[in-house]
């Protein structure tokens, strides 16, 4: 566990940079994490996915996998990869201030 400064506040993150406490999150933090991960600007489409991930996590206790995202977020998988290069579920979770998805078990 390390503490870093995001949007002017001390934030606790794990070794991979995922927030440890989802309650410490806010929109500025999201934008800052996005920039660090080569997403210059969070568009409405990005926010649709980030909010969906976050809401699902807060409601059910686990973040959706990419396949569930493709079926339920309203954003098809192809576009998810364009919005969040490499790993959309992982990156959207990081930006959304929730733990790394454990979809893989």
């Amino acid at each position: 566990m390390t503490t870093i400064t995001l949007a002017g506040s001390p934030i606790e993150v794990d070794a991979e940079g995922f927030l440890l406490d989802a309650q410490q999150w806010n929109a500025q933090i999201a934008e800052e994490i996005a920039r660090e991960n080569a997403i210059e600007q969070l568009t409405d489409r990005h926010w649709q996915v980030v909010n969906f991930m976050r809401d699902t996590y807060l409601e059910t206790g686990s973040a959706p996998s990419i396949r569930s995202l493709g079926k339920t977020s309203g954003v098809p998988i192809k576009e998810l990869y364009e919005l969040f290069p490499k790993g959309p579920a992982k990156l959207a979770a990081k930006i959304g201030g929730i733990p790394k998805p454990r979809g893989c078990i």
Partner: protein
């Protein structure tokens, strides 16, 4: 009053649960098991069929014959579950009302979900060993394969028995060495995960084993489509992997009736359930067991077996109007065949990841955890008779507790037998 308990699915979970419930309730419950066919496949055996190490006929038995007398077995296709009416609608047949319903219909293979997988090359250069038909067709294909790129590919998680694709790689490596062809084959494991397995310590061990056997790993490869004519896998992020023979694990989902049952399942057709009680989130009188349940642990027979005790206890408590107390802890264990008559064993639960150590098994002796041994391979072979004669009838396996006691599993061997 006789309780009406209806179990959808006569596989591992449905069968062992029906038998446990029949013993608990006797005449006080009418237990009905519904399945679309009467063939119970010993699924761990599928891995061995392509290599000629098991015959298809050896791993299939009739479903009805695994159920205690008094349990009603029906062959029928389920149309949907009506949660408001507490009834199961069949495609063809009268409605079946229930007091308690158990979803035990497992996971189905959905190759149609991946563009390009099904088609003229399916069964020729594209195979799977996750079905009896697939495993049987793969045997001659492997026999004929005498060089080139052999790619073993997991399309997406979750899948049944997440170690099976690795075991397939290990056995293929072994078979190719025996045939003197190993140098002519590039063997690659392609996974959407960031390593060989889902848990870090075991993943590191298995990654090392893959390297030792010269098996390539393409990690974090999320397969988007297959170009069957050019024989290439394409990831969503535009990476490509060529193959000559593809052994794939198609995506898994719940059966279609779950999607037709409003409120029962999630987007993939699995049934969200409390991870400790296995009670479905959809309704208090519905439980889920085995691969059908959406709980954060591997889809594996050992999981199903360990869940059985909790689900049986909780059904009894629910019907008696008591609070549910049976607590499933996510216990899972699996033998991982590594070829050359060896296997390794992993043991874990929701909180404890697989670690090295010894597993206290009173008959074969303590088994090494996360290390290759001949004993683990013998234990894996010894498991099939236990499956039919102890596990399915709904008994505990001596020395194998439903709960993982991390202390016992990692501690010295003198704790043998202490896990009941």
């Amino acid at each position: 009053m006789t309780h009406r308990i209806v179990i959808l699915g006569g596989g591992t979970g449905g069968t062992l649960l029906a038998n446990r419930l029949a013993r608990r309730f006797g005449e006080e419950a009418q237990i009905t098991v519904i399945d679309r066919d009467d063939s119970h496949i010993y699924q761990p055996g599928l891995l061995f069929v392509p290599f000629g190490l098991a015959e298809p006929g050896e791993i299939v038995r009739p479903r009805h014959a695994q159920l205690r007398s008094g349990i009603d077995f029906r062959l029928a296709e389920v149309e949907n579950v009506d949660l408001a009416e507490n009834a199961v609608h069949l495609v063809d047949g009268p409605d079946i009302p229930y007091d308690v319903l158990v979803i035990a219909t497992g996971a189905t293979l959905q190759p149609q979900e991946t563009e390009g997988l099904e088609g003229p090359e399916w069964g020729r250069s594209i195979h799977t060993f996750y079905s009896l038909q697939g495993a049987t067709a793969l045997r001659p294909a492997l026999d004929d394969f005498d060089g080139g790129r052999l790619v073993v590919n997991v399309i997406d998680m979750p899948i049944k028995c997440p170690v099976a694709p690795l075991e397939f790689c290990f056995l293929a490596d072994w078979q190719l060495r025996e045939r003197g062809l190993r140098d002519d084959v590039e063997l690659t494991f392609v996974t959407p995960l960031d390593g060989a397995f889902t848990k870090p310590v075991a993943s590191a061990h298995l990654d090392a084993l893959l390297r030792e056997k010269d098996i390539g790993v393409e990690a974090e490869f999320a397969t988007g489509r297959v170009d069957a004519s050019a024989k290439r896998l394409h990831s969503w992020d535009e990476r490509e992997i060529p193959y000559d023979l593809l052994v794939t694990v198609p995506v898994h989902g719940g059966p279609e009736y779950i999607a037709r049952s409003e409120g029962l399942g999630d987007a993939l057709g699995f049934v969200p359930a409390d991870r400790h009680t296995l009670q479905a989130k959809a309704a208090p009188n519905i439980f889920a067991i085995g691969d059908a349940a959406d709980v954060p642990i591997s889809k594996a027979g050992s999981v199903t077996h360990f869940e059985g005790e909790t689900v049986a206890e909780n059904i009894q408590r629910f019907l008696a109007g008591h609070e549910l107390t049976g607590h499933y802890d996510g216990h899972a264990n699996c033998f991982i065949e590594t070829g050359f008559h060896k296997a390794l064993l992993i043991d874990f639960d929701y909180e404890t990841e697989p670690l090295p150590g010894r597993y206290p098994q009173p008959h074969l002796g303590p088994l090494p955890l996360l290390a290759e041994s001949r004993l683990n391979h013998l234990a894996k072979l010894a498991f099939q008779p236990l499956y039919w004669h102890v596990l399915l009838p709904g008994h505990d396996i001596p020395g194998v507790g439903a709960s993982l006691h991390p202390g016992a599993a990692q501690a010295a061997p003198q704790t043998s037998g202490g896990t009941q």
